[in-house]
Amino acid sequence: MSGGADSPSPSLDKQFEEFRSQIEESGSLREKIRAVVLEIESTSRFMHSGLLLVHQSRPVPEVLEKANAQIGELKGLYNRLAEIFRECPGQYYRYHGDWKSETQTVVSLLAFLHWLETGNLLLHTEAEEKLGLNSSEFGLDIEDYLIGVCFMSNEMPRFVVNQVTAGDYDCPRKVLKFLTDLHAAFRMLNLRNDFLRKKFDGMKYDLKRVEEVHYDVKIRGLAATGDSNGNQGVADGQS
């Protein structure tokens, strides 16, 4: 074909050359994130597997100790993630999808652990602290935090059932109080995130199930009548 082979315009070439390098850069950033996230996932899986032992009536302190050790590891990993982002400010949400699901799981584990230790909800700022996150630079997204809390709530019915089987008849009362307050606090939010809204709807069933366990214990006169130990940690009586 006559004249078919003249080369394209230089500005076009230059632009695509630039794109190429930018896309490579973004790709390698993503690879770095992926590597860290894989480790986060793996650490949190181990932590999860360890925490599952509370359902088997293992001495709680021992379970907690192991899990606490892994928090340090997670902190290190999130620190690495934050460092990666220090180089590209303003792009937190560009890659958010790459780590949010794992972070929600991490939050749920931290919150469950914290609750076992203190009987209280792990606050957003406390979660950030535990992971060494810093809101102004690389913080914990609020919706990720809330979803993580919902995941934690999903563990409650199983925990209560197994505690009662193991002979702790006061557990349902404590958990019920905790979940009732949590549920009430959530209800005040006008949730627009569909996933979060759906997860929150699930919390209603957790609450209902815990109410029923509490009922089962209470109607049989098994619940402790005294109310002495107050609120400090759910698992004190154990071990």
Binding site: V161, N162, T165, V217, R220, L222
Partner: protein, 247 residues
């Protein structure tokens, strides 16, 4: 003019020969796949029967029921697993895995179910594979069930264990139920660490959800049995629980 004959003789004939080979290869492969699928269906059906046989267990007929189940299982091995063994060798184990995987999974389910009821322990993959060795001609590489099919079968086992546990509780064998509960929990926990790394884990992820439901069902059943027992203890005048509970 456009038939194959008109190309230069040599090139055309090698071309023709080659496609003749490809055709043979595909025909053989498809026929083998069909035979493997049929063998797999036989294994499935008969392993399911073994599972049903085990479920016929109760407090008094334990030995007799398990003896028959084990005999039936041995028959499945000899009669149907041996067919698989005959068909498969070398790279076929993986190439045709989808054709036989359902049968092998069900077989694993049946074998581990028998074993758990007999001993309360998990039948290991190596032990299953050892029973398959005698089926092979010693000259060829023996059929070995792979880890993935073993784990998939194990996941289904937990469903059967759940059914067993519910039945045991109705029969007031609470301790047995708690043993099952513990066993299923252990399997579940071990699997949580493995599943994410499995080849093509989507099937297994679904099964993990079902397994968690099974665990919860057993836990709930143990819970209600326990709570009822406790109520009895706390009732006035119930000093001899054991005699009644076992009555």
């Amino acid at each position: 003019v456009r038939t194959m004959g008109s190309t230069s003789e040599s090139s055309s004939s090698s071309f023709k020969d080659a496609f003749g080979n490809y055709a043979d290869y595909l025909n053989n492969l498809n026929e083998k796949r069909e035979r493997v699928i049929k063998a797999s269906r036989d294994i499935t059906v008969n392993s399911k029967k073994v599972i049903f046989q085990v479920h016929r267990i109760s407090k008094d007929n334990r030995e007799e029921v398990l003896d028959k189940a084990e005999k039936d299982l041995a028959a499945v091995t000899e009669k149907y697993m041996s067919k698989l063994v005959k068909e498969l060798q070398g790279t076929d184990f993986w190439k045709l895995r989808r054709a036989y995987s359902p049968g092998v999974q069900e077989y694993v389910e049946a074998a581990t179910f028998c074993k758990f009821c007999r001993t309360g322990t998990l039948l290991n993959l190596d032990d299953i594979n050892a029973t398959l060795l005698p089926l092979s001609d010693p000259s060829v590489e023996p059929l070995q069930i792979n880890v993935l099919d073993y784990l998939l079968g194990l996941a289904d086992l937990t469903g059967e264990l759940m059914r067993l546990a519910i039945g045991r509780i109705s029969d007031r064998e609470l301790e047995y139920a708690e043993e099952i509960c513990q066993f299923v929990r252990d399997i579940y926990r071990e699997l949580t660490l493995i599943v994410p790394h499995m080849d093509d884990s989507s099937d297994m992820k679904l099964k993990m959800d079902t397994m968690l439901q099974s665990v919860v069902k057993i836990e709930n059943a143990c819970f209600s049995a326990h709570v009822r027992g406790s109520e009895y203890m706390s009732l006035p005048g119930s000093s001899e629980p054991s005699s009644f509970l076992l009555g």
